[in-house]
């Protein structure tokens, strides 16, 4: 793509000097065509990334993304912006490491500054047993080619002196650190993929709700939508949060429950938190945005919900953890709390697989880990859609793993979604 239309510092200067009249829409608002080769249901991060990679990596030209509301309005628009690949299990680690590598080259790839900021992710540990478990995990990361460091209390104190080393209910003993982890400006990810896909010919169709699948003798031939029937050679669903609702239209029951995860942001403050810090003694993690807001969260609300809002007990639980780990944030004021709907799967890991219906593909079960997975999820789903074979890093994300006993259970909490 040439300078004209592309984004750059030079372009900003040129536009600035000519009254910024030259900026074009970041994406078009086309009307749906009667038929596409690929229809992606869901204009969230994963859906848009899937369309982007179908076009950019697999040369597919006839692709539509159908979004019932506004794009980026799902969990990509309401998360805590963390990226990392600090996973333990063989089924997960390579996939999230692949994702992290994609993050590292993403902005140049889609010509949009999503502010990928690799300031490190600290997982603080509080007991010998927890340290041993983190050591096992850190070793798994390294063996898979990711980066990991194990800090003791003194090393952690040097990097995060504000942690409550002296007066916490559970002692702060050290941390497992992934330096390449960090944060990304979440909305920009959706917009960057949307703009990149649009420029490669993908139709992004907002305010177009999928109401059903047209299935003829075991094959999915398209989708019924609020804007009429749209035929498709292949239909891919990336609607995490609403997976059960949508796939029910195809007669499927999923190993997934929908739960609400709350997140919180403070007023803008001068920089004080170095990276992403996760409390191992409770439910709390925090980072600081480029605008200065403390962005933090904790555990899900425990009950099934589609309401995109939570309740007070979890707010208090998160702040209790935060105040215990870093009492300096006490006088920082929260300005907003919100909730997103998570596809909580039965082992805490996602599904990227075909379904029992030909031409219908499923991507979901991301729990609260979906944001960091966005690039790899899009790439791997595009790979599956385009080649009908799973990407090498996503082979474990099968639908049938539960019946056969191949769970990918990082926490070991078993078939209880609200425990993952």
């Amino acid at each position: 793509m040439g300078l004209n239309g592309g984004y750059s510092g030079f372009r900003i200067l040129r536009e600035g000097l000519s009254g910024n009249r030259g900026w074009r829409p970041a994406w078009r608002d086309p009307s749906p065509q009667p038929a596409y080769d690929f229809v992606i249901v869901g204009g969230g991060g994963h859906g848009l990334a899937t369309a982007y990679y179908l076009a950019s990596q697999f040369g597919e030209a006839s692709v539509a993304v159908l979004e019932k509301g506004w794009i980026g309005g799902g969990n990509v628009g309401r998360n805590t912006t963390i990226i990392r690949s600090n996973y333990l299990l063989d089924g997960n680690q390579p996939f999230y490491e692949f994702s992290l590598k994609l993050w590292e080259g993403l902005e140049q790839d889609f010509n949009y500054n999503a502010m990928v900021s690799q300031r490190g992710v600290y997982n603080v540990y509080h007991s010998d047993a927890q340290r041993d478990a983190y050591r096992r995990r850190g070793n798994a990361m390294i063996l898979h080619g990711a980066d990991a460091e194990l800090l003791d209390a003194a090393q952690l104190r040097a990097e995060c002196p504000f942690l409550n080393f002296d007066n916490a209910r559970l002692p702060v003993m050290g941390a497992l650190v992934q330096r390449r982890g960090g944060t990304v400006r979440h909305d920009a990810v959706a917009w960057g993929y949307a703009r990149g896909a649009d420029r490669r010919g993908v139709d992004i169709i907002q305010n177009c709700e999928v109401t059903g699948f047209r299935i003829q003798n075991g094959r999915c031939t398209g989708v019924e939508t609020s804007r009429g029937f749209i035929a498709a050679r292949k239909v891919g669903c990336a609607v995490a949060g609403s997976s059960s609702r949508v796939m029910q239209a195809a007669g499927m029951r999923l190993p997934i429950e929908s739960h609400v995860l709350q997140a919180f942001v403070s007023e803008g403050l001068k920089p004080i938190i170095p990276g992403v810090i996760t409390y191992g003694g409770g439910h709390f993690y925090i980072s600081q945005s480029d605008k200065g807001g403390l962005v933090f969260g904790g555990d899900i609300d425990m009950y099934n919900s589609y309401a995109q809002r939570g309740n007070l007990p979890v707010v208090e639980d998160v702040c209790e953890g935060g105040m215990t780990l870093m009492p300096m944030i006490g006088r920082a004021r929260m300005v907003r709390m919100w909730g997103g709907i998570m596809d909580m799967s039965m082992d805490g890991s996602p599904i990227i697989d075909r379904t029992h219906i030909d031409g219908l593909y499923f991507n979901g079960g991301w729990c609260y880990g979906g944001f960091k997975a966005t690039p790899a999820s899009g790439w791997c789903f595009a790979h599956l859609l385009a080649t009908d074979t799973p990407h090498e890093t996503a082979t474990a994300y099968r639908m049938d793993r539960f019946e056969r006993g191949y769970m990918i259970d990082e926490k070991g909490s078993g078939a209880q979604p609200n425990q993952h």
Binding site: P25, R135, G192, Q308, R309, L312, R333, V335, R404
Partner: protein, 983 residues
């Protein structure tokens, strides 16, 4: 400095003068002032700088919506960044400092951004800083981050305490303005339990800020009379300085009470703030309304304020923003400001009324159909440029401009369940719409009823209706006389022009930014917000959202109703994180459980360790021991050589009684317990339904219908919950009752060759505890020390001849002292959790390190314990393909070769061959130095482990650059035949 802008009258207490400093300069004010009113009275217009362009900023409001008047309040560890001056009650010695400027508020170098604004429009940063790749983190981002934020945290621990509280009521009234006072009075007189909360320190709301009377007296006096009556009613609780910040499910409201913010610092032990959880059967939102500004060129200069706020400062605080004040309005409200200013002796320079049919005014020249096209002045407004109806221009000098663009009802709390406000054309504002939280009603200005008489009447009517829903009858009283003017407004959102017109003054979002967002197809309100950051500042759009979306509606040609709003979320006003945490912080984050021998152990100088909720003795250092290993090795050897004692009271104990107790256990455990003889104990393995091991422990049968189950310390609670699930949800037909007995008993493990000898000193003689009379795995109710009831279990975690002796918890302290005394001849040694851990590893007993939730009985080599003859939880799914694979993981012992070290968390590889993820064979779960064996040993899981005893493998720990050769062996390092146990 004299208070140059102080007027006569007002609701301040001139008999109590107060001193404060702003940016180091001393000023004076009075009790009843806010920091904002004191600054206004002292003629301070410039109070801050905007986020992006560092434009000079002045106070624009008199309420909690203030986006500009943000300061760092207090000093040291109590510094509070971004504190709104309008909500800060003045106290003597208050210290405030301006934010986000360098070197000074008057001269801010970062103001250069303002010159570059053409290049720094909405979302500019998404389009650049991408090349060269490495520069983002190294160069660009650090610069952006340095510019981030407004105020700064102190970086020190918050020294104050915060309370949480819980209150119940029939009716929660939110807001003590005319509507709220009227509603509370109606409900209070009806005898209902009423809670009235208001964010101000003085009840009255707008009544305190307006000049017109109610029922023949001033609004303030009427409010005071109502408050007095409410205070006399026992069923009414008034909560000033209390903000309803959130509405949650089923009538739960979060209310933040500021009990210590109006003084320099709270007294010791007293909370700075209390976060109340108010359980309200019904609630009534009387939150009033917020005045809009109007977008016009340079409308952000200090001195430009809401017209209603100007009235508030004049009437309530006897302070005028300037000697000469101009008014710009699109509705009648601006004229009230002019009238009140004049009445207070302030010169009204001009009334610019955009309506061609503007009313006349006694107090100043009215420019009907005119607009303000621009302003001038350095660090504050000096004049306004007026574009007259006919197109002519006029230039008017003024020190302040009072702007009224109409009023937005404060609908925010009605949206906390994702409700959507509805547009009401006649008042040009959003009012509560669909999805108001169940149980909530809205009264007065918060639902667009703006006249004083209207709000008082509406408050009463809504209160009666709300109470009727819960069966409480309230009577309507005759309402006081009050002004009842209609709303007369002609919408004007912004004055078109080339220069920048501000919408969100904190985040520097201008009309131009909205136009750019539209141009780039960020047209959905959520896209508009996220792309331009409109409404993402501290006020969450309370002063800017409606203007922004009205302009977007203009651009798209849609109506404002179609354009819609973004969602208002809790909290209603910014709330300290500490307030949500209350007392559950630091060491009190969660309760601490102490063992019955805790005080004794502390006397011995034990080192303690957190074991879940418990605090346990980790080891007992002795004189001269310099390293913990010395203590632990000594404790292990002493136990194995003679006798040791350890407090094991933390293990969960569950009393299980009933005719079906045995059958119940057969279902809950994978192995069989109904066949266990009375007086015997058996090891039990408990699976989750998915076939993974949930917990293990010994269960004793004390009687035909009576078992006592032991659980691991960590799982005591979850196992009890699981058993209740089995009892109530799966087998309600069974005759079985459960009760936790964990805290009832002080239980001590007495282990080692001399264990029996020690116990014989204490067990009452009638009980035979000889090897024959009380063999391995025996249990029974006995008595010790002359009749103290006790329980004795002959079980061993250490692998030695061992007992667990339990006495009622009250005797625990005494019992450990008795055991130490009785054991003295044999050199009895207390041991802690470390030695316990070493000995259980030596014996190959698994704990949480092994039972990580992904481990099956088969992995542990206990497949035969899963009975196929009966139904037991987990048995079926344990048979799945992957879980019975031939090359599955197997528990093994690991012994380091040539003085190497086994490290938990290492991964296991074949001794020769590649070391990468593809060749990962397993991992080390537990490790310890075994003084008994004289080597570093461990437990772990490795594929086909059962067949590989004797094989040497590599334990790799690249995380710490370590690698060791270890020999696979049986997990039973000690006494594999179990002779010691039975000795």
């Amino acid at each position: 400095m004299t208070q140059v802008n102080r007027l006569d009258g007002g609701l301040i207490d001139r008999s109590t003068p107060l001193g404060f400093t702003f940016d180091g300069r001393r000023y004076g004010g009075f009790a009843g002032d806010t920091l904002a009113s004191a600054l206004v009275a002292n003629g301070v217009r410039l109070v801050g700088r905007s986020f992006k362009y560092h434009r000079p900023r002045g106070i624009i409001s008199a309420g909690s919506e203030e986006p500009n008047g943000l300061v760092e309040l207090r000093t040291g560890a109590r510094r509070e960044p971004n504190s709104r001056v309008t909500m800060t009650e003045l106290h003597d010695g208050l210290v405030a400092t301006s934010q986000n400027r360098f070197p000074s508020l008057g001269f801010d170098l970062m103001a250069v951004n303002d010159r570059l604004s053409n290049f720094l429009g909405a979302g500019f940063y998404y389009k650049t800083f991408m090349w060269p790749k490495a520069f983002w983190e190294r160069v660009y981002e650090p610069i952006i981050r340095r510019a981030a934020g407004l105020g700064a945290l102190s970086g020190e621990d918050d020294p104050d305490v915060y309370d949480r509280g819980f209150r119940h009521c029939d009716l929660l009234v939110i807001g003590a303005g005319p509507a709220g006072l009227s509603a509370a009075l109606t409900a209070g007189r009806a005898g209902a339990e009423v809670i009235l909360v208001d964010e101000d320190f003085r009840a009255g709301g707008r009544l305190l800020q307006e000049s017109f009377g109610v029922g023949g007296v001033s609004g303030a006096d009427w409010a005071a009379t109502v408050v007095a009556e409410l205070q006399s009613l026992p069923n009414v609780r008034l909560m000033p300085r209390s903000t309803a910040i959130g509405v949650f499910d089923h009538g739960i409201h979060a209310v933040l009470e500021r009990t210590g913010d109006h003084i320099a610092a709270p007294d010791a032990g007293k909370p700075r703030q209390i976060l109340w959880r108010v359980y309200a059967r019904r609630s009534l939102l009387c939150a009033g309304a917020t005045e809009r500004l109007i977008g016009f060129a340079d409308n952000d200069r200090p001195g430009i304020m809401q017209a209603g706020a100007v009235r508030g400062y004049v009437n309530r605080f006897a302070a005028t923003p300037a000697e000469h004040v101009a008014v710009f309005t699109n509705n009648d409200d601006g004229h009230r400001t002019a009238t009140d200013l004049a009445a207070a002796g302030v010169d009204v320079a001009a009334i610019i009324d955009s309506r061609p049919d503007a009313p006349k005014s006694e107090v100043a020249e009215v420019f009907a159909g005119a607009v303000v096209s621009g302003t001038g002045g350095r660090l504050g407004i000096g004049h306004v440029d007026i574009r007259l109806a006919g197109g002519g221009r006029k230039h008017v000098q003024c020190g302040a401009l009072a702007v009224s663009g109409g009023w937005n009802p404060n609908v925010h709390l009605t949206c906390h369940h994702r409700g959507r406000p509805a547009w009401q054309d006649d008042i040009c504002a959003f009012v509560p719409g669909e999805g108001v939280p169940p149980g909530m009603a809205v009264a007065g200005a918060a639902r667009g009823v703006f006249s004083t008489a209207g709000t008082i009447g509406d408050g009463q009517a809504q209160a009666i209706a709300q109470l009727a829903e819960i069966g409480i009858t309230a009577a309507a009283d005759t309402l006081p006389e009050a002004e009842d003017a209609p709303v007369r407004i002609t919408p004007l959102w912004h004055v078109p022009g080339k220069k920048r017109a501000w919408l969100d003054q904190q985040n520097d979002v201008t009309v131009k930014d909205v136009k750019l967002a539209h141009q780039e197809n960020f047209r959905a309100v959520e896209h508009l917000k996220r792309y331009t950051t409109l409404g993402m500042a501290g006020d969450q759009g309370r002063t800017s959202n409606v203007l922004g979306l009205a302009i977007m509606a203009e651009l798209t040609g849609k109506s404002i109703a179609e354009t819609g709003t973004t969602i208002y979320r809790p909290p209603y006003t910014p709330t300290p994180i500490a307030a949500f945490a209350g007392r559950s912080v630091g060491r009190d984050f969660r309760p601490t459980r102490l063992t019955p021998s805790h005080h004794w152990a502390a006397e011995q100088g034990a080192t303690f360790v957190e074991a879940g909720a418990w605090l346990r003795a980790q080891w007992f250092p002795r004189e001269g021991e310099t390293h913990w290993r010395e203590s632990v090795d000594r404790e292990v050897l002493a136990t194995r050589d003679s006798v040791g004692v350890c407090d094991v009271s933390t293990l969960g104990k569950i009393d299980i009684q009933g005719r079906d107790a045995g059958a119940f256990l057969d279902l809950a455990y994978s192995n069989t317990f109904s066949t266990l003889a009375v007086g015997k104990t058996r090891y039990g393995l408990m699976l989750r339904e998915d076939g993974m091991v949930m917990d293990d422990g010994t269960t004793a049968r004390l009687g035909e219908m009576h078992y006592v189950m032991t659980t691991t310390t960590a799982n005591a609670g979850s196992v009890y919950r699981h058993l209740e699930f089995v009892r109530q949800c799966l087998r309600p037909d069974m005759d079985v009752q459960l009760i936790s007995a964990t805290d009832s008993w002080a239980q001590f493990a007495v282990a080692g060759p001399n264990a029996r000898r020690v116990l014989q000193e204490l067990v009452d003689p009638q009980h035979d505890i000889s090897n024959e009379g009380f063999p391995f795995m025996a249990c029974g109710a006995i008595s010790v020390c002359d009749g103290v009831p006790a329980r004795l279990f002959r079980i061993s975690f250490s692998g030695e001849l061992a007992y667990e002796i339990a006495v009622p918890a009250r005797y625990g302290d005494s019992m450990i002292r008795a055991l130490m005394a009785a054991g003295e001849p044999w050199g009895i040694t207390p041991y802690g959790t470390e030695a316990l851990g070493v000995m259980r590893i030596e014996k190959g007993h698994v704990t949480g390190n092994e039972l990580n939730g992904t481990i099956t009985a088969r992995n542990l080599g206990m497949a035969r314990m899963v009975s196929a003859k009966k139904d037991s939880i987990g048995a079926v799914l344990a048979g799945r393909e992957a879980l019975v694979a031939e090359d599955g993981l197997c528990l093994v012992g690991l012994e380091a070769l040539d003085d190497g070290q086994v490290i938990a968390g290492s991964h296991l590889f074949d001794a020769e061959g590649p070391v990468d993820a593809a060749h990962d064979r397993g991992y080390v779960t537990s490790a310890a130095y075994s003084p008994h064996i004289g080597a570093s040993i461990g437990l772990g899981f490795i594929t086909r482990g059962a067949e590989r005893h004797g094989e040497v493998v590599r334990a790799l720990n690249p995380l710490e650059g370590r690698s060791a050769l270890v020999r696979i062996c049986s997990p039973h390092f000690i006494d594999p035949e179990g002779e010691r146990l039975r000795g």
